[in-house]
């Protein structure tokens, strides 16, 4: 009896949580922002997905937690969770009809109520909303009851349709650049989102593909190949990626090339910060400082506006890098003895100091103050000036290639292993004869080097630098991309950068909420999957190994071991 009531409480809690999350999404304006972006043309909007997805997911959670074998109990808990979630939204709408919430909550507008009630008359709409929530709960049960293989296929197919629908603009722009797929895209995409017929087809195709491959895990199918076949497979995959990377700006055009450039600069910084945070475990929140130093050195040395040196890009680049590295070492020296959280705050302070100095009237004659520095030189190769975004793309790709290669080679080198040893346990590492001074300084210097390089390219890309470009938020962007991608994992940085820096640029509606989403993802990541989405193998082992002793009878020892 008692077990049943606690089960009921669990279901209601999940439903409430789902309702509250979806209400929060509505109140921060996300539902409003996506109100007009259809996933399936004229059928489903992103707003509706945002509204009902939390209820569905938490409903699924409730069903999983109920651990019952009886279909009736499962169905009951799914539907109940959905009902509770829907009621939360319904109560909010009813209150909104009586009280003007808009004086305080700016998004509680008539538009929002209209969206939440599917554009129907209010009372009917509320009823429909509750019904839709209950149906979502029911769908959750349905998904739970499917065999695992089919479940994965359905979820994947749904994700694919959503992503294609959301990124419609990207694909439609590609039509102009690339003829062959024109007919296909014309058929697939409506004015907003995917056409209903295409949605069904895509859903089925992706579903079938995943159902087929789902049975045999990738590792198994790989194992069936001989080593030589494996090597050719890998080689052709790499060649394919290289070809795509080389022709991407041609296909996508100028506008998307600029987005790629921005993403590339973040990846470049991410690779650098990955060395400091991921390899060496030094949480640096002032990473933007080196970016600023690289950009400003480039500016001061090349801009005829200030007229100090008038160097070319290539002459100034070594100076920019050296300045960045020196400031990295300079920051590194005093913070050598600090650990973890203190280090984070001090580096944050350092980043702010640099920004304030750059902004100050005091250094205005040298650094331009609020007006920044203009007329920064473009790089020249022979007589070719690398000026437009498509040409810069290749410069950035080369920089990323070199950086990724260095990072990859460093990782398993003597230095890389020393970094990881320091990260895991400083005292033991010191006892093993690792010189913690040079090792840590090398991490700061390498990180600063890549960030300085990114800064120098950034300066030449804009041909100007302003203090506003070097906010604390830049550091947070880079940090969140390596944390979500997977600390210490180079592919994690590459994929994380593409996804998390690309998404806000491609989806303008999303851009406003990027920090909200990053923040939530960072918290969720640490709670659920601290190794990141594309983790490094060793890190994953460490983190999951660390979970076991927590179950131990003496948790205090674990705390002390982990450096608390």
């Amino acid at each position: 009896m008692e077990k049943q009531s606690s089960g009921l409480k669990q279901v209601v809690n999940n439903g409430l949580l789902g309702g509250i999350i979806s209400l929060l999404l509505a109140l921060v304006g996300m539902v409003n922002a996506f109100g007009k972006s259809y996933i399936v043309s004229d059928v489903i909007t992103m707003a509706q997905v945002l509204m009902l997805a939390p209820i569905l997911i938490l409903g699924y959670n409730a069903v999983t937690r109920s651990q019952s074998k009886s279909t009736v109990v499962l169905l009951g808990s799914g539907l109940l969770a959905g009902l509770v979630g829907g009621l939360v939204l319904a109560v909010f709408i009813e209150i909104g009809q009586v009280v003007n919430l808009r004086a305080m909550l700016i998004n509680a507008s008539p538009d929002l109520y209209k969206l939440l009630t599917f554009g129907l008359p209010i009372q009917l709409g509320v009823l429909m909303l509750v019904l839709a929530s209950v149906v979502s709960g029911g769908i959750a049960v349905g998904i739970y009851l499917l065999p695992a293989r089919l479940r994965r296929a359905v979820v994947q197919a749904f994700l694919w349709v959503s992503v294609l629908g959301l990124l419609r603009n990207l694909f439609v722009t590609m039509i102009e650049g690339w003829g062959p797929v024109k007919a296909l895209f014309r058929w697939m995409f409506a004015a907003s989102g995917v056409t209903p017929f295409a949605a069904v087809v895509i859903f089925l195709v992706i579903g079938v593909i995943f159902y087929w491959t789902g049975g045999t895990p990738a590792t198994k199918s790989k194992r069936q190949l001989t080593t030589r076949q494996q090597r050719t497979a890998r080689l052709s995959a790499i060649l394919g990626i290289i070809l795509i990377v080389l022709f991407l700006p041609r296909v996508l055009g100028i506008f998307f090339s600029e987005i790629l450039d921005n993403v590339g600069l973040f990846i470049l910084m991410g690779l650098g910060l990955n060395i400091v945070v991921g390899f060496a475990g030094l949480l640096d929140l002032g990473y933007v400082a080196f970016y600023a130093i690289g950009a400003y050195t480039m500016g001061v040395l090349t801009s005829p506006e200030l007229g100090f040196f008038n160097l070319t890009f290539w002459q100034a680049l070594p100076f920019a890098l050296v300045t960045a590295v020196l400031s990295g070492v300079l920051l590194g020296l005093p913070v050598l003895k600090m650990r973890g959280d203190y280090l984070a705050i001090v580096t944050l302070g350092f980043g702010e100091i640099i920004r304030l100095l750059v902004l100050s009237d005091w250094l205005r004659p040298y650094l331009g103050g609020t007006q920044g520095i203009q007329q920064i030189a473009h790089p020249m190769i022979g007589s070719l000036e690398i000026a437009n975004q498509q040409q810069l793309y290749y410069l950035i790709i080369v920089a990323i290639g070199i950086t990724a290669f260095i990072a990859w080679r460093l990782k398993d080198s003597r230095l890389g292993r020393a970094w990881m040893a320091l990260r895991e346990d400083e005292d033991v590492a010191k006892a093993m004869g690792i010189n913690h001074v040079t090792t840590k300084l090398m991490a700061f210097a390498m990180g600063a080097l890549f960030s300085g390089l990114a800064g120098a390219i950034f300066a030449t890309k804009l041909t100007s630098t302003y203090p506003q470009s070097f906010q604390f938020l830049v550091s947070i962007n880079v940090l969140s991309l390596i944390i979500i991608g997977g600390m210490g994992s180079i592919p994690g940085v590459l994929v994380g950068g593409l996804v998390f820096m690309g998404a806000p640029e491609l989806l303008r509606e999303f851009a406003e909420f990027r920090y909200l989403v990053y923040g939530a993802l960072m918290v969720a990541m640490m709670l659920i999957r601290p190794e990141g989405l594309w983790p490094e193998a060793r890190r994953r082992l460490e983190l999951h190994e660390a979970e076991e002793p927590i179950e131990d009878e003496n948790p205090q020892d674990v705390i002390q071991d982990s450096g608390l």
């Binding site: 929060l24 109140l27 921060v28 304006g29 996300m30 305080m104 909550l105 700016i106 475990g281 949480l283 929140l285 020296l333 005093p334 913070v335 050598l336 003895k337 600090m338 973890g340 959280d341 203190y342 984070a344 705050i345 001090v346 944050l348 302070g349 350092f350 702010e352 100091i353 304030l356 100095l357 902004l359 100050s360 009237d361 005091w362 205005r364 001074v437 604390f472 947070i476 940090l479 969140s480 909420f513 920090y515 909200l516 990053y518 923040g519 939530a520 993802l521 960072m522 918290v523 640490m526 709670l527 601290p530 660390a546 927590i550 205090q556 705390i559 002390q560 982990s562 450096g563 608390l564």
Partner: protein, 352 residues
């Protein structure tokens, strides 16, 4: 002897001491040349001092949140600056409503109490939710993990409040009773500043009393000393931690009201800089130490207010007050290098 000296002093120490010495020389030189130039009168200095003490009072109350949580969990609650922001950013709606109905000017004391209560409640609630959702599951995780969570939570909260209340700036209605100043020996002392200093001292005494003389305070100190032993003595550690977050949050909410008396505008980003400064203050006084937080905050407030004019003006720096935040952060770096335990803190081991 020479050998041991050489063994002890490394190149890092030399560089670090050189940095410290250089800054000391700059400060002394700057002070002397400012005072010699005679640009500012005694009245100006007194004015800046009072301003600094008022700021220090606000920092002290925010710093309490950092210090209490650090004392118990040995973690820096990076999202505390958002706890501070949430209170006054929510209470502004009550203040505006009261201001429109005219109640604010008729009963200023009751109104301010109501506004403060709302602010403190909201901040405390956010702090408790933060602990429950984000920090509690990670209590035994490696220490980088809760820190990253805190950073994520900080940005999440900032942008949730931006989404809820808008990205614009909202102004608090001015309280007629607090307009104006008293003239004392030719120096203007603004009523707002006096109220803030007084309010901060009262709040600090209340907090000190709670920590020192109530049963819950005793439990807090016990948990801070040794979590396991406290649990064995029958203390509900989870409840104590929730109470600590609540207390720190309420204190931040009160700080928020004092802050808006000094600077009557609120926005979603208002917590970042004061939060960072309050953290500096907590470290300066010795983190984990309640009187230390107060002392550190007052010193920081003074240095920030008087410092730019005193240290930098004589060096020919234009608009030195632009660099007041930089001074605060440099102080933070210097304390952590030379005296990481702070002024009143006991010597921390390397691990703490």
């Amino acid at each position: 002897m020479l050998r041991t000296w050489r063994q002890r002093v490394t190149i890092t120490d030399i560089v670090v001491w050189a940095i410290g010495l250089a800054i000391a020389v700059i400060v002394v030189w700057g002070t002397i040349s400012t005072l010699q130039s005679g640009k500012y009168t005694g009245g100006t200095w007194l004015d800046l001092t009072i301003k600094g003490l008022a700021l220090g009072g606000v920092y002290a109350l925010i710093a309490m949140g950092y210090t209490l949580v650090y004392g118990i969990l040995r973690m820096i609650n990076f999202a505390h600056s958002e706890v501070f922001m949430s209170g006054p950013f929510t209470a502004v709606f009550l203040a505006l409503a009261l201001g429109q109905s005219g109640y604010l000017d008729q009963h200023p004391l009751i109104s301010m109490t109501l506004i403060s209560l709302v602010s403190m409640t909201v901040s405390a609630l956010i702090a408790i939710l933060l602990e429950r959702i984000a920090y509690r599951p990670l209590r035994n995780a490696p220490r980088l993990v809760p820190l990253i969570t805190a950073i994520g939570a900080s940005f999440f909260l900032q942008y949730v409040f931006r989404g809820l209340y808008g990205s614009g700036v909202r102004a608090y209605p001015t309280l007629a009773a607090l307009i104006g100043f008293w003239e004392l020996a030719g120096v203007r002392i603004y009523k707002t500043q006096v109220v803030v200093i007084f309010g901060a001292i009262v709040m600090m005494l209340v907090l000190y009393g709670i920590v020192q003389w109530t049963k819950m305070g005793k439990a807090m100190r016990a948990v801070s000393e040794d979590k396991e032993a406290a649990e064995l003595m029958g203390i509900d550690v989870d409840r104590v931690i929730v109470f600590t977050f609540g207390l720190g949050g309420a204190s931040a909410g009160a700080a928020g009201i004092l802050y808006i008396i000094l600077f009557p505008v609120v926005n979603f980003f208002m917590g970042f800089i004061p939060g960072l400064k309050a953290f500096t203050a907590a470290v300066l006084g010795g983190i984990g130490n309640v009187p230390g937080a107060f002392l550190g905050a007052m010193i920081l407030g003074l240095l920030e207010s008087v410092g730019p004019n005193l240290f930098l003006d004589g060096l020919g720096v234009i608009n030195p007050s632009q660099l007041k935040d930089a001074i605060a952060f440099i102080i933070l770096v210097l304390i952590l290098i030379f005296r990481p335990s702070g002024i009143l803190g006991e010597r921390l081991t390397d691990k703490a």
